[in-house]
């Protein structure tokens, strides 16, 4: 039953062929049996899951079940879960039992989903390989010598290995799309402000956005219907009515105008990835779309702008970890400054400290205009570049990542080379646009994701394109044999 999509499982629950308790137990057993090879979970919440599953079955018997009632999912360990550890992949929060639920968790609980556990991630979502986690690296189920991508690497790996039908993720510079690409699953980063950030541990607040990680676009649409919507507890939540994300899935792609930025297809892109992407785009052309070359001239400015803005916001957000109110505190502090400094240096890992230091530097007196204001101006240039492109085309397509993946340890000692692996995803966060990664084929035995970028609020259209592509192909149904036979 673990190869079924969320939509198929929902039908089985609804027909009575399966109970939520049976389904939940099946996934919990798989996690216990197979996850030691992947390390995709930080916490497995058996007791919570089985309690929720029992309640879901009762709710169904009472006739008040919705499409997600009784469906087990996993939450990235960045979403606060009341009464359970929420670590953000950090030693700093290893002892943090959240006193409340994140809005995303609360909304999904209300829809009736079951929490199987909390997934592994790069520490405070800072990373593209899941190697910066305090709980150890996650392995890619397609080849356990390879990284699953990051920062939502645990969520991507557990869905790819069918240890959960779906998972939540967050995306600050590609953290949903890049691991979705590397693990061969579907991931959606919505328009900035669509899903509440309340209770989602902050990295870079003007870029962070939650989204679903699933087998199919149809599953992602179903989760979006439960996750999205205005929340007064998030000061940047968009006060507009959420669309019906499943409403346009079956529309035709006739007349769709696709733009291919020439900057996404030049040197630096792996030849095998390029071939997969070109074949996938031809397939979509065959469904009625037209293709034209466009130019996004600011492409190369995105990574530098991001590595000013994201660390600046992170240094501010992470100043709350002071060893006083919650989280890690050093032993025997001699004075208040010693308490702050040692709690922070012992509690944070190397990459997090690096980014806090960069952030403190670019915000410091004398450098603020040269770095931070310059990066914010560049950010507007990047957004204007997309706005211009969207007067000519409806959707922009290209690779999600420049290669199908890299080996564990390969880039761990070279932060800049790691940063550049996010070259195609980062600009989307700076501009606040919605984008997806969809399984599009394989190269050298590893999956490759096709990235689709849309105008603000065009998620229903992106999900429609992805769904039509998945009706015509079966890349999203391929599973890593070692975990799914």
């Amino acid at each position: 039953m673990h190869n079924k999509t969320l939509v198929e499982l929902s039908q089985q629950l609804s027909s009575g062929a399966l109970s939520s308790v049976e389904l939940t137990q099946h996934y919990l057993d798989r996690i216990r049996q197979l996850d030691p090879q992947l390390n995709s979970f930080i916490s497995i919440t058996d007791e919570l899951a089985l309690g929720q599953a029992k309640a879901a079955d009762e709710r169904r018997a009472a006739g008040s079940a919705g499409p997600l009632t009784g469906i087990p999912i996993a939450h990235k360990d960045i979403f606060c879960t009341k009464g359970y550890r929420t670590s953000a992949g950090s030693k700093m929060l290893d002892n943090f039992i959240s006193p409340y639920d994140a809005t995303v968790v609360e909304k999904l609980n209300t829809a009736g989903t079951i929490t199987l556990g909390k997934t592994n991630m790069d520490e405070f979502a800072m990373g593209s390989s899941n190697e910066t986690s305090f709980y150890g690296a996650v392995k890619n189920p397609w080849n356990t010598d390879y990284v699953p991508g990051g920062s939502s690497g645990g969520s991507a790996a557990c869905v790819a290995a069918r240890l959960a039908p779906a998972a939540t993720g967050t995306d600050t510079g590609g953290s949903i799309r890049q691991p979705a690409s590397l693990c061969g699953i579907t991931g959606l980063k919505p328009t900035y402000g669509s899903i509440s950030r309340w209770g989602m541990i902050a990295f870079a607040s003007s870029l962070d956005q939650a989204g679903p990680m699933t087998q199919t676009a149809e599953d992602a649409a179903l989760l979006m219907n439960a996750m999205a919507g205005f929340d007064c507890k998030d000061s940047t939540s968009l006060n507009r009515e959420a669309p019906n994300y499943t409403g346009e899935l079956n529309n035709s792609l006739e007349g769709l105008r696709i733009g291919l930025p020439k900057e996404f297809f030049k040197e630096g892109l792996d030849a095998g990835v390029q071939q997969v992407i070109e074949t996938a785009i031809k397939e979509i052309e065959g469904l009625g779309a037209s293709v034209k070359e466009i130019s996004l001239t600011t492409t190369e400015l995105a990574v530098p702008a991001y590595y000013v803005i994201a660390p600046a916001e992170a240094s501010s957000n992470l100043s709350r970890f002071d060893g006083v109110r919650y989280g890690y505190r050093c032993d025997n502090p001699t004075d208040l400054e010693d308490l702050y400094k040692r709690s922070r240096s012992e509690g944070f890992g190397e990459e997090v400290k690096r980014r806090i230091l960069i952030g403190a530097y670019v915000l410091s007196a004398g450098f603020y205009d040269a770095y931070y204001v310059k990066a914010q101006k560049t950010r507007r240039l990047i957004k204007n570049d997309f706005d211009r492109a969207f007067t000519e085309v409806d959707v922009i397509m290209g690779p999600t990542a420049p290669s199908a993946g890299f080996a564990l340890g390969e880039k761990a000692d070279d932060p800049v080379s790691m940063y550049l692996s996010d070259i195609y995803t980062i600009a989307v966060n700076l501009a606040g646009l919605p984008a997806m990664s969809v399984p599009a084929g394989f190269t050298a035995g590893l999956p490759v994701g096709l990235q689709m970028i849309g105008r603000h609020f065009s998620e229903p259209r992106l999900l429609n394109i992805a769904h039509q592509f998945q009706q015509a192909t079966d890349w999203h149904k391929q599973t890593p044999e070692a975990f799914t036979k």
Partner: protein, 95 residues
């Protein structure tokens, strides 16, 4: 853009992070390579461009000045490293 050891120490103090003396050269080198990457921004022509803080240029929402939160002090302090009589404890600041 190369940072020297004393600059790394100054930034670490600003960020309230302690760095071991023997690790400072390593930080100086990795932070400098990140700043080299960031340096590419200088090639962007940003004359007459307004800085962008929010992707949709939204501004802070205001609400009625009314009490909306209930008191969770005991719950929140139950996960604190050290508390007494409803207060958070830190090392002595004033003699």
């Amino acid at each position: 853009m190369a940072l020297d050891k004393s600059e790394v120490k100054d930034i670490a103090h600003l960020a309230r992070i302690a760095i071991d003396e023997d690790k400072i050269p390593e930080y100086a080198s990795s932070l400098s390579s990140i700043l080299d990457l960031v340096e590419q921004l200088q090639s962007a022509d940003t004359d007459n461009i307004e800085p962008m803080a929010h992707p949709l240029d939204a501004t802070q929402r205001l609400r009625e000045d009314a009490v909306t939160e209930s008191n969770h002090r005991e719950e929140y302090q139950s996960i604190a490293p050290a508390t007494e009589d409803g207060l958070y404890l830190v090392p002595k600041v004033i003699d």
